[in-house]
Symmetry: C2
């Protein structure tokens, strides 16, 4: 910038004005400055600008796994909103590890992102308190924040699971398994709660052996489902707690003789062709809503932290409408 000023024969501030499109520069000087910029290949150093202005025009997104198809549309929606506000997106995966989540979130804060969208892996977010106090707008998505008050945007896991299980019950099932993610994950527990509620609504007893929470690794899910289906009095239907579980269960059921009904939480690509009935949540809406909340805060709106819950939709495609064997 100094060089540009020298070359154009003007003061530093004038260059700054031109670069930022501020008023108060003669068209003529502006042209000279532009020429100098071109010929020097100058490009403003945003780091310095940030240091001075205090705002980075970037937001951080901490998610669980960049490669999980569920987060694709979510990230994209966040990006879209960020872009509309002239902000860039910095993101990383926590891999479901609370320490890594914290490390990432704090690294983003050290970069002075203006805001933070977090899909929590851990249950204690007090480490973010100083940052939030220091002005980093923060919104939690998909799962609630732990031990702090903060904006949260989630899907209705409880209601969705309840509706899904009720659907199976309506189709005649009485013995229904629930295979979910690890119990430390909030949505897993909520969905299990929904399952229990639906069973209770119908006056059905749950056998403990029908319920299995744990890693979504294919082997674990396979073992769980197999042992449930191979019991003396096997279940006739399975409710799968999320997209990864569903995929594994579908593979498993495909190899069996007797049909087993299935409803899965989360929609999956090509689920229509495979006839998989699902409870779909709108990942893009989740991201969009969170990002919009974030930028509203950045624009100075000062409301109480709120919990927003988005509805899920039951999409019947066949697997959930299979009746129990006669």
């Amino acid at each position: 910038m100094k060089d540009v000023a020298a070359r154009a024969g003007v003061g530093l501030k004038t260059v700054s004005r031109v670069v930022n499109g501020e008023p108060g520069v003669t068209p003529d000087t502006e042209r000279r400055v532009q020429e100098a910029i071109e010929s020097l290949g100058f490009r403003r150093n945003d780091s310095a600008r940030v240091l001075r202005k205090g705002r980075t025009a970037s937001i951080g997104l901490v998610l669980e796994d960049l490669a999980d198809p569920f987060y694709g549309p979510l990230s994209r929606a966040v990006e879209e909103v960020a872009r509309a506000h002239g902000a860039l997106l910095i993101n990383g995966s926590s891999a479901e590890d609370p320490d890594r989540e914290q490390e990432l979130a704090l690294a983003l804060c050290a970069r002075r992102v203006d805001g933070l969208i977090v899909i929590p892996a851990g249950h204690d977010h007090r480490y973010l308190e100083p940052e939030i106090k220091a002005g980093v707008a923060t919104v939690f998505v998909d799962r609630p924040a732990g031990r702090i008050e903060a904006d949260t945007v989630m899907s209705d896991s409880f209601g969705g699971a309840r509706a899904g299980v009720a659907h199976l019950i309506a189709h005649g099932h009485r013995r229904i398994a629930f295979i979910g993610d690890q119990p430390r994950i909030h949505t897993a527990v909520e969905r299990l709660r929904g399952y229990r509620a639906a069973m209770e609504d119908a006056g059905l007893e749950i056998d403990d052996s029908w319920v299995s929470l744990g890693s979504t690794a294919p082997e674990r899910v396979r073992d769980a489902v197999t042992s449930i289906l191979e019991a003396p009095e096997p279940v006739t239907a399975v409710f799968a707690g999320n997209n990864r579980v569903t995929v594994t269960v579908v593979r498993l059921l495909a190899g069996r003789e007797e049909p087993v009904a299935l409803v899965g939480f989360d929609d999956i690509e090509l689920a229509d062709l495979l006839g998989i009935t699902v409870i779909a949540q709108d990942a893009a809406a989740l991201g969009r809503t969170a990002a919009e909340r974030l930028f509203r805060r950045l624009d100075g709106v000062n409301e109480e932290p709120a919990q927003v819950t988005l509805d899920t939709v039951l999409i019947p495609r066949g697997s959930g409408e299979i009746p129990p064997p006669a």
Copy 2:
């Protein structure tokens, strides 16, 4: 930091040393400084650090669509490598728009990312020349750079498509359609070239009506496939140019009486269950290789820009082994 120094009763540099884990500080003073840091809730401002050090410990990733499942594993692999090098990932989608690609890439450069990984949307990357000269390590992935010399990591689109089409021919097909992405996309053209080569290898003539390049929007693909299949002498097999095309074609073929063979470029989740034969590329390896190259450059290795090509794998699952009607 100043405040911390004051509170701990030490000099500025001592605090800096503690914060950065540099040697030359008594355990005792270190403790005092740590206490001051804690009680003040201090966190280093990386913007200032960047300004001073010239390195941001962050890299930019410009891809085409954050939500495309193909880019999930790729981004994740890049993130993994970045993380191993202590760098953060800033990313954005070009939405296949060259102007947006440029805007994004330059915005990232203005943030002074150390390196840039670009999945090109455009064909002229001379706009990056000053940046590269200024030291921004740059690697192109999935498609080649336009009008500049640069590292490039790609899958073998030509060879993959050729093998896929040869597979169909080996199963008896003579009339094979090619449905691909827009002709301005390098991989689309390469795959078409592979198709032509395989046909020529087998001494087969191609009817122009069998080939259709264009948007991957479901409507466009549907129209293209329908018109090809409804011709007087329809094709007996389809080669789909990428994951999005494949998905639409599968949906379409599912609704038909007479079986049509299909091989698709790119693997898809659940393709195994649907029995879709594909040419799989290793998206994670693409990202990993690119990122590793990038960091090798950042570590000062100075080699000539190279073009790396990764092999694809044919995965037979049924759809590609359907023989033509007798």
